[in-house]
Symmetry: C5
């Protein structure tokens, strides 16, 4: 799974019949310091997430394992809203706190 | 899924028998600002899209989940024509409007 | 799918029993201007292609969907010989014509 | 599989019902010299690993082949704790020894 | 498939029960000129290869199609020992010959 922020929506009315009823969200990938890392993806949203939320998403055949996406031509899915993560015991993101990011050592 | 623009076609008469009847379109990947991002892919087209249209496509095993591509050795498929997308409430693409792209902050 | 040129062969006599009888070809990826783009892959060849031919290939589980490759530990397969492709109405490759490539605008 | 170090945890209480009971660990990829190589991934942990441990993980559909992850929308899983690895007969990592890394020749 | 050289081994005693009995080899990717190309992967070895041998490996779900790896959480497998490959009629590798590599034109 990867961490990402929900930043927008995609509207497609003329689509494969198996994708009818699947909402598409625009996600931007986050690194472990909660900074945008450059990548983006359009993912199915079975959860009804809100814009700005941080989520976990899966890719590939695993993206067809939710109830909404089963047997559909879908290759990315949101599977959880993130409350918090930490690296080395240091909180990097918390849904209800503002954490000043530091430059990540690589 | 990824966003892409339909830019051309590929003709292959001598092909695997399971691919007979599957049209191939040339897609160029788009970033969230509706700019070409460098990547390209050849995708099956079950929808009969037009050149110049912006589409969503899936890769991998999910590309075999449309009626046209089931059980075929196909690893990329167009699954929707995009009407519009927005990021942070700002419209980045609309099928019937010209939107002047701005440099995306990364 | 991706476009590639057939440039060579790989010989492996000691191999998984499920791969016996599957010929391996060396492919070099092509960009949309018919130029080598740097990548390469070894693909199963169910079609008996000739060296120098331009082909389409699939990766991943889709590479097991041809008659030759079904249920084999094979992750790339040639699925068509390309006759021609065009981008924006401009022919970029034709099997029986020499087309002088131009630098692609990105 | 890839080598990675367990560096943290992700908490998600609102998640797909099929992911309930699956703990998420933050992994950072390691190169063959036991140095962080830049990549990171969130993986399911069926093993109860400890922070700081070096592990092997699988991606894609293979990440659904453990007892914990079967049929879940999970695309990365920890499948082993690494005791030791060596390259060219030179030990690069040992769980109970400190090995001074050298710059890897590429 | 990709070409790689077998350079080492990974020991993991505490692992997913479905991976018991699967030996892990360290592979370094090779380019078409038989030079290390930077990538590496840990692959299951159903063949009992020797260190230093050049092999073909598969990734993803195809890595579960050998007798040893079926239904296991394994995403990379060695499937053949390479005897020889050639590009454009020029031998680039032969198991029993020393071939002086030349810089590959890209």
């Amino acid at each position: 799974m990867q961490l990402a922020r929900v930043v927008g929506t995609v509207v497609s009315t003329r689509k494969d019949e198996k994708m009818v009823g699947v909402p598409f969200m625009v996600l931007r990938d986050l690194d472990l310091e909660n900074q945008l890392s450059g990548g983006s993806i359009i993912a199915a949203d079975p959860m009804g997430v809100d814009r700005g939320e941080v989520v976990l998403y899966s890719k590939g055949s695993s993206a067809r394992q939710t109830e909404m996406t089963r047997d559909r031509p879908n290759d990315a899915v949101i599977l959880g809203v993130v409350d918090q993560w930490e690296v080395g015991g240091v909180e990097k993101y918390h849904k209800f706190k503002t954490i000043t990011p530091k430059k990540s050592p690589k």
